[in-house]
Amino acid sequence: MNRRRQESNLARIWRRTGPTTRLIVGSVLVALVWWVGLRSDSALGTSLPWPLALLCAAVGWGRVGLAIRPMAALLALGLLYDISAAAPLGSHAIIALATYGFHAAMGSALDFDRDPILSSIRPIISLALGFGLLWFVASSASGHAAAVWPMIASFLTTSAAYLVLKAPLNLGERPVSASGGM
């Protein structure tokens, strides 16, 4: 009973939280998942396909449309991923921004929120596009076709992670126009 009350309190606090705080909390969460993922192999002793939390953020933040601050956050988080993955600087930013823009454009072009099926398909489509782009950028940067199966496994774990991270990565409802913003 107490726990339920605590959860509802947390939900109420989160509902009242502004988009800037939500963006900061979301960025910290993404950075935390990235940081744990760095150590997952050596610490857990397993080569678990770790979720790409950056794409979860791109999809979560893109739900309410384009805005400047989420773009800046994606750019900064993308650099973290570039450094840890030994990728050319800007690669993950391209992938995240394209996913973010695509997800936002899909939202403004079609009203997904009214249809539960379309609403659940929308993030999967965006994540699939993100991973497709990741494969393309990785293949171009490394000079050979990147392995597909690990990426599919990572896509599945990212999709599962998105279900968990969906709420904290929600910047709030669109305030005025269909295109939305912060």
């Binding site: 940081w35 760095l38 150590r39 192999d41 050596s42 002793g45 080569s47 449309g65 384009l66 805005a67 400047i68 773009m71 750019l75 993308g78 450094i83 840890s84 993955a85 030994a86 990728a87 050319p88 600087l89 800007g90 690669s91 930013a93 391209i94 921004l97 394209a98 823009g101 990741l134 494969w135 950028v137 990785a138 293949s139 940067a141 490394s142 000079g143 050979h144 076709a145 990147a146 392995a147 690990p150 990426m151 005025v176 126009s177 295109s179 913003g181």
Partner: protein, 298 residues
Amino acid sequence: MARRNRTSMRLRRLAFAAVFVVAVLAVIVQTAPGVSQSLMPLRTQAGDLLVTTNGTAREPRQNPSLWARLMGQGEKERQIRELEARVQELSRYEAAARSMAARLEAYESLLSALGEPPARGITARVVSENGGPFSKSLLANAGAAQGVEPDAIALNEGGIVGRVTHLGERSARVLLVTDFNSRISILGETSGVRAIVFGDRDGLGTLSDLPEDDAFRPGERILTSGEGGVFPHGLMVGRAIPSDDGWRVAFTMAETRGGFVQLVPPVRIPTPEDEPVLMDLAAGDDLRPDETTPGPPQ
């Protein structure tokens, strides 16, 4: 109001397009080796920072808190530190024993030594391992400050792990042998067949530049041939396994996951400047450096 919204939206789209184009241009510009090299210090510093934030480069806490002392955590931490030091020491002995055994076999069969495995090196903990789509690499918590040299060779209990590509002050990024862009000249221990191995998508090594007539023996050990001057002769790479396309290499470094790598100095091919030949033009004789003259760095 609607007009203001439209302008705001247009601005946001413009900002999105600008940021996206800048990111694409940044990636394209980095295809130039000069630009990529100029960003190296930034990457190595980021690696150092990563090692520090992961806590492995920090000195162990000498004075545990009261709570830790009450719970006996301090004692456990001390034991863990001792065990880690012991594992590092034992892994060095194991590597030395393996290389000695390989040398003994070579002496027995050929009555001459083929190569001298490196004896010195620095054992470092693997802080993070990246098997992502861009490159297969790992980050070790030892760098130039600990005496790791640029292009150092990384080994573990199974054999060769890779080569240091980015050397920071307290960190070293090792490009794994399983990466597509790694190239090692190898030879079969029994067959003597020489080839070049590189990592492939399935985690096995693919061979190129194989002679047409010769073939490896199934399961024979694959060692570095020492050609090319990057890796010394005789380091364990893997085992030859037959496949539909010919021969593949199962990397033995993947069989062990101790969490440590030994970073040994690379092979240096001496340049003419290292071994100058002094000519006495009047006498027409070579004046080679005598015993007292310091030789080239080995």
